[in-house]
Assembly symmetry: C2
């Protein structure tokens, strides 16, 4: 009957690829590294976007839109930025095609060569700060609190749907401030917004932390991040918020007159999350039967499937469902009654299970007679028969319970797979099993690089709530003031 | 005091450019032909997008996302499509930059040349139908009703903000159907959605019509459109909906098995509106003082400005405004109380006038004492003093009235500037004054081309409600069955 899918235990990576496919979320396009986000996947992304967008607006940000193309020379203006972003990128060199004279088809018109090549934006700091230069003269023009929803392109050699694609969708906040203090607290505020979103909407526990110098965003003074643990024990960086200091203001000569009439460089932040969050969502909750979605992000929160033999039975069930639909609508709960007669109930059960619909209802003629209905939750797969009366309130409560349960389950998993470790020999063995490792580190980039080379593990972050604890670096034996988080990462 | 701006009568084109700037809607970027959409302009576009998006979903469409890049060879697959779109476009030829060996800076890495060039999408029919090929096997897979919100690039030599830019934002619907009839009615339905949006939200009267063969979308069997008249009498094509027949299905070999088990090519539509609508909105309603916005699209619908000498007066006015804000919020009316003490009331009056805020309130200490408030509407500039009690209901009614008044005013303007014309000699004189001209045409592309060459006027459309009327083509004297609409156009 049901197709046999690979399990997480058998091959986590294949399980992920199959799941993205069977839940109809996305697929590879014929354009190397670019994905097609299918309607069901896009509907989840839209929910993420709308929730985040409302939070950005609540914190005083406005959306705007800047050009897709960045002149090549802009990338060179900020010295460390260019190293990070000017390498693997899509380069537009011409602006016209023409028919080949030999009739062989379309060719690039050599006479339409651009004087300066354009880069398809890998991130927009440079093009945006080039605009801010015109917008900012005085302290009265500050702060500028802008966000952009956009597509960006980073030429990736090895791609995976949602996790690493050449083109992806994201939001990028770019703010300008009169003081360092204000910019730092903006960067911290946006990290809190990301944490709130991850934990309360994605039901995904995250650690707020700071990147080490070698893991910082190219052009940042400080990179804050939220790190999550996937079911295979690997870390996934789910969002970053950068304090950019005056680096971009200096690169683009953006100065303002302060209240005392002095000319100063502007302070900056940038912060972003991307369609990568879809990958994080999948790998936090889903199981061998398919996608598991937290209710806050489920395009369909409740599906009802009628089980019937006669048209009459279907009509009676449909009547009941119409009433329920209205009640759920008034509670803002999205509901689908699937009475498609081309598909059998068993097929539907498995379909909605694959797609992670949080609650499934099933009603047959006997249920109807008894005023009962079967209700199944996707997260625990628990089923029960309950009274049809009061069902809408029951559903409302259950959705909150599922939302919370997913968070708790993921938190417990993370706790179980987070260990303090002091011996590097032990670390080399343990890291292969996955998980987060709290270890002392001497604070040098050399040690960090060597550990990475030998184990592929990186310092995911220095937690913002890191406990002070004197110790010795597990690698070099040099002194350390607290433990940092090591893990292999996506 | 107030800066002197150019009037519409003096120079309509300059007036438009200045208005886009003073209302803070958009600006040219340093990247040739690409614009920066500033927060206030983007907020209007967001409103347009959200309203349209809800209408697309109500009519059964889902959003998805397809790659930004199109392999060059795809463009050649549909014979007439390639002529329309494969000419002026951004061509990605390389995927890496490197530091020049002579230290002169970043250069394109010649070893990173793509085997096949990628085109930045000018429209997505080809890349989408290449996906649909994989999605469609049977009639059970149909219809596919998908929309995409995206950026597109068409290399334009002469650009104007919103009206014609190299990169612009739009939505493109792409649907697949089992029958010609169903596809045609989809194309018609979406034209109705556009008409509804233009008339009831933008307050912009439009004519629904059909393009002549020479004005059709490259690859379409039939192009439906909505045409609006701008204040200078020129036409603006505000949206198009295409019946694509089986052209793209044939180009990409997309067949399905019908209910009888026969293999058939799939039928298609595509339809779109873009940030060009921002230009249409501006040129339909705005006046010499600035932008005029229909309330349905205004980011701020009501602004209140306090007039005070003492802090105490400001506090009392603020108290009143807090109560009003709550009431308006419950009616879903967006409200801003501008108590910025850095700006004088006169400056604020002119600022919100420039930005087209539909209703402006002003309250001073005497108003407060008398329980009165001044209310000014942006469309007619009428001011009156009314009771503060019941103000929220008054505002609600007034917003509807403004919405309707703008539509009526634009409709009257269009009626006044639409004429039947029978003599080509007269037409050549009249067309220079602007307006729509209803004239007989012999139905040939030759006549159409000659009239365009001699007058720059084009056939905007053959109205769907064209009256049958026998006549003689104004140009050739050959018989005609009804009048078509000629105009100069943006």
């Amino acid at each position: 009957m049901a197709q046999k899918f690979i399990t997480r235990a058998e091959d986590y990576s294949k399980w992920y690829n199959e799941l993205v496919n069977r839940a109809d979320l996305a697929e590879h396009s014929d354009v190397r590294g670019c994905m097609v986000i299918k309607p069901y996947g896009y509907a989840i992304w839209e929910k993420m976007r709308d929730i985040l967008d409302a939070k950005f607006k609540e914190t005083g940000h406005q959306n705007a839109y800047f050009p897709l193309f960045i002149p090549k020379s802009y990338l060179s203006k900020e010295a460390s930025h260019v190293d990070g972003f000017a390498k693997e990128c899509a380069v537009v060199t011409h602006y016209r095609l023409k028919n080949a004279e030999d009739g062989s088809g379309l060719i690039v018109d050599p006479s339409a060569k651009l004087e300066e090549e354009l880069i398809v934006r890998p991130t927009s700091e440079t093009i945006i700060w080039n605009s801010y230069k015109k917008w900012i003269q005085s302290y009265r023009d500050l702060p500028i609190l802008i966000n952009q929803w956009a597509n960006v392109v980073r030429w990736e050699m090895r791609t995976r749907l949602f996790l690493r694609t050449t083109e992806f969708l994201w939001q990028e906040g770019h703010t300008a401030h009169a003081t360092s203090k204000e910019a730092i607290s903006e960067a911290e505020q946006m990290l809190d917004v990301y944490e709130d979103f991850a934990q309360n909407y994605m039901s995904m526990p995250v650690i707020k932390g700071r990147k080490t110098e070698s893991e910082r965003f190219a052009g940042a003074e400080d990179t804050l991040c939220i790190e999550a643990m996937m079911q295979d024990g690997k870390a996934l960086q789910a969002g970053t918020s950068h304090f950019l200091g005056q680096n971009f203001a200096k690169a683009f000569e953006v100065k303002f007159t302060d209240k005392e009439g002095k000319l100063e460089y502007v302070w900056a932040t940038s912060w972003g999350v991307s369609t990568r969050l879809m990958g994080a969502l999948i790998m936090t909750h889903s199981d061998d039967e398919g996608l598991v979605l937290p209710p806050a992000l489920a395009p369909i929160q409740v599906v009802a499937i009628p089980i019937y033999r006669t048209e009459e039975e279907l009509t009676s069930i449909s009547e009941k469902m119409k009433g329920l639909a209205l009640k759920l609508k008034s509670k803002n709960i999205s509901f689908k009654f699937d009475d498609d007669d081309q598909r059998r109930p068993g097929w539907k059960f498995s379909e909605y299970e694959s797609k992670g619909v949080p609650i499934r209802l099933a009603m047959g003629p006997r249920d109807l007679e008894n005023g009962k209905i079967e209700i199944a939750r996707r997260d625990t797969k628990a089923k029960e028969i309950i009274d049809f009366d009061g069902l809408d309130s029951y559903i409302e409560k259950l959705l909150s319970e599922i939302q919370l349960n997913l968070f708790q389950r993921a938190s417990e998993f993370r706790s179980l797979n987070t260990k303090k470790i002091d011996s590097y020999a032990e670390f080399k063995i343990e890291i292969e099993k996955g998980g987060f490792f709290l270890a002392h580190w001497d604070g040098t980039a050399e040690t960090e690089a060597k550990i990475k080379e030998e184990t592929q593990a990186t310092i995911r972050c220095i937690a913002l709530d890191q406990e002070e604890e004197e110790g010795l670096c597990m690698f070099s034996g040099k002194p350390s003031v607290g433990r940092v988080i090591f893990a292999k990462a996506y």
